[in-house]
């Protein structure tokens, strides 16, 4: 299945204006984690919070909705959120933890849940994982190259970055800059080239921008836990939805991109095996 196993697909966005203002797309990640916190489904969430360096995220153990909101928006570089899960359980003593994860982070977490060799009493405390779609990620130095050199801008002036419609976008207060995606190739991390998961197939709920209109997100509910919390959030009016069948470009585009990611990764895996290199999948 090209999008992984899922129960329902919708186009959705958070109804809270404060979330809409700061979120990357429909604010689904922020809204769901905040809602889970309010409903006591989780006691805290590990998110990619801001750091002192512009656009370099730092994992944050958020205990309030405000802290979760402070981490909204996509940072196109590493945020080792999984690392901070232990912090959340050990130092913060949380019994029920939520987190946001890109596919490779989900793989790390889920593997520790199925095979918890060294993770005493951590893996079973992770109650909600909102997965986000991911085509690739960039080392921080690559971001510097893209923004500073290729777009002649600066990271400290940048207010939002986005990848969509074939371009890498950077927004400052008064400028909208775009770089053709082909100019970013060669700057993504090498580990991404064998990654076959575009839509966070191991999450409870997955979300991303592709498929839905600006300001909206595409959402796939996967596990029972994920389906249940998403439905509750919709019923509570925290999230509004549209039938994905009525939305353009909708699932066909998502399927197309997911497919092409898998095909490319398969080719890279094959060539690595021919070189005698190890690949885990």
């Amino acid at each position: 299945m090209v999008l992984g196993t899922y129960k329902n697909a919708v186009s959705a966005r958070a109804t809270d204006k404060a979330i809409q203002k700061v979120s990357q797309d429909g604010g689904i990640v922020t809204a769901l984690l905040s809602y889970a916190l309010e409903e006591k489904i989780i006691e805290g969430a590990v998110v990619a919070g801001p750091s002192e360096t512009p656009w370099k995220p730092e994992p944050l153990v958020a205990l309030t909705s405000d802290e979760i909101i402070s981490a909204a928006g996509t940072k196109y570089t590493f945020s080792p959120n999984v690392w901070a899960l232990k912090e959340a359980v050990r130092s913060y003593g949380l019994e029920k933890v939520g987190t946001v994860a890109i596919p490779c982070q989900l793989q790390g977490i889920r593997k520790t849940q199925s095979y918890p060799f060294a993770t005493r009493f951590v893996a079973d405390k992770i109650k909600l994982i909102v997965g986000i779609f991911c085509m690739e990620n960039f080392p921080y130095a690559s971001l510097q190259t893209l923004i500073n050199e290729k777009l002649n801008s600066s990271l400290s002036l940048t207010e939002k970055m986005d990848i969509g419609k074939g371009k890498f976008w950077s927004y400052t207060q008064d400028e909208e800059l775009a770089l053709p995606l082909k100019d970013t190739h060669g700057y993504e991390q090498a580990g991404c080239n064998i990654c076959k998961d575009y839509t966070a197939e191991l999450s409870d709920v997955s979300t991303g921008s592709v498929g839905s209109a600006d300001g909206w997100s595409t959402v796939l509910t996967r596990t029972d836990a994920g389906e249940s919390i998403f439905t509750k959030a919709v019923d509570a009016g925290i999230i509004e939805t549209k039938d994905i069948a009525d939305v353009k470009p909708g699932l066909p585009l998502l399927e197309k991109l997911s497919n092409s990611k898998k095909t490319k990764a398969d080719a890279e895996i094959k060539s690595r095996i021919e070189l005698g290199l190890p690949v885990p999948f």
Partner: protein, 299 residues
């Protein structure tokens, strides 16, 4: 709490009725067969596939109440403490689901000239082996003869862990200087790494054994042969091989906080690393049990 752990372990309410247990084991074996067949079709399986015939045969062997021995070589008792930290499921496990047939700590049984070592299905061996301690060497050789499966229980047994730093010269046995993992001396069938191995993985391993779920145990069989673990593995086997994604799992599992993630890559403080191998074991880019994860998640 109890219900939660049980659910999480995939441990249906344990039943005294032996036939039900066997029924469950049969079902599991069938499921496993299906999974195996499915896996054979997918060529990119993460492990060497085994013959279905062979595994169902072994399933019959282990489906009865397994006899388990616990051996304490040069270890700290941390792994068996971890076993006992399964709290409320422990009494059920020890009374109705397995027989502990050997061990100084859990039961008062050990081997000497008058008392021969009993036969057992699984030997959980904690600690590495001191080459200058004859008793340990004998015990190891003997248990290898008596046990169907020998499990390296914890990282010291699997790959030496911090006994790798031993170098003798201490009272009261200055000559006791060389400590090696089990697999340097005997064939090890499966390894349960961790310093200590977590209570959950121990319970899951024993439950898998009871259910004859060899598919679950397969990765532990696969990692048994490797006894060279250290924090450097991440650099040489993951980063150097263009596999790292900066996910942070390795740093999460490191028991000594020897690992940090710097610019998206693991950095190992060698002065803190105790060579437990947990980081490499857990890295999703070293091996990846996709089918099992999806099964566990109901996906």
């Amino acid at each position: 709490m109890l219900a939660r752990i049980k659910r999480w372990l995939g441990l249906a309410k344990p039943d005294d009725d032996q036939s039900k247990l066997e029924e469950a084991a049969r079902k599991k074996a069938e499921e496993q067969k299906k999974l195996e067949e499915q896996k054979l079709q997918e060529s990119e399986s993460y492990k060497p596939t085994q013959k279905t015939e062979e595994s169902s045969q072994e399933v019959e062997n282990v489906a009865e109440k397994p006899r388990i021995g616990y051996f304490h070589l040069s270890g700290c008792t941390g792994d068996v403490m971890s076993l006992s930290e399964n709290y409320d499921i422990l009494s059920e496990l020890l009374t109705n689901m397995v027989d502990i047939v050997y061990g100084q700590t859990l039961v008062d049984v050990w081997w000497d000239d008058e008392n021969p070592m009993p036969e057992m299905d699984l030997a959980l061996v904690e600690g590495s082996v001191c080459l200058q301690d004859e008793h340990s060497l004998h015990e190891l050789k003997e248990l290898r003869k008596k046990a169907t499966y020998v499990a390296a229980f914890g990282s010291c047994a699997k790959n030496g862990c911090f006994t790798r730093f031993s170098r003798g010269g201490q009272q009261a046995q200055p000559k006791h200087e060389s400590f090696v993992p089990l697999s340097d001396l005997v064939k090890v069938d499966l390894a349960i790494p961790g310093c200590p191995a977590s209570p959950e993985i121990i319970a899951k391993t024993v439950v898998a054994l009871i259910n004859g779920d060899l598919d679950y145990l397969q990765p532990m069989m696969d990692v048994a042969a490797c006894n060279q673990n250290c924090g450097c593995d991440l650099q040489t086997n993951i980063v150097n091989k263009a596999l790292c994604t900066g996910c942070g799992t390795c740093a999460m599992v490191c028991p000594t906080r020897a690992l940090t993630i710097n610019e998206g890559r693991p950095e190992c403080n060698k002065a803190r690393c105790i060579k437990c191998g947990s980081c490499y074991t857990h890295c999703p880019r070293s091996w990846f049990p996709e089918a099992r994860i999806k099964q566990d998640l109901g996906l």
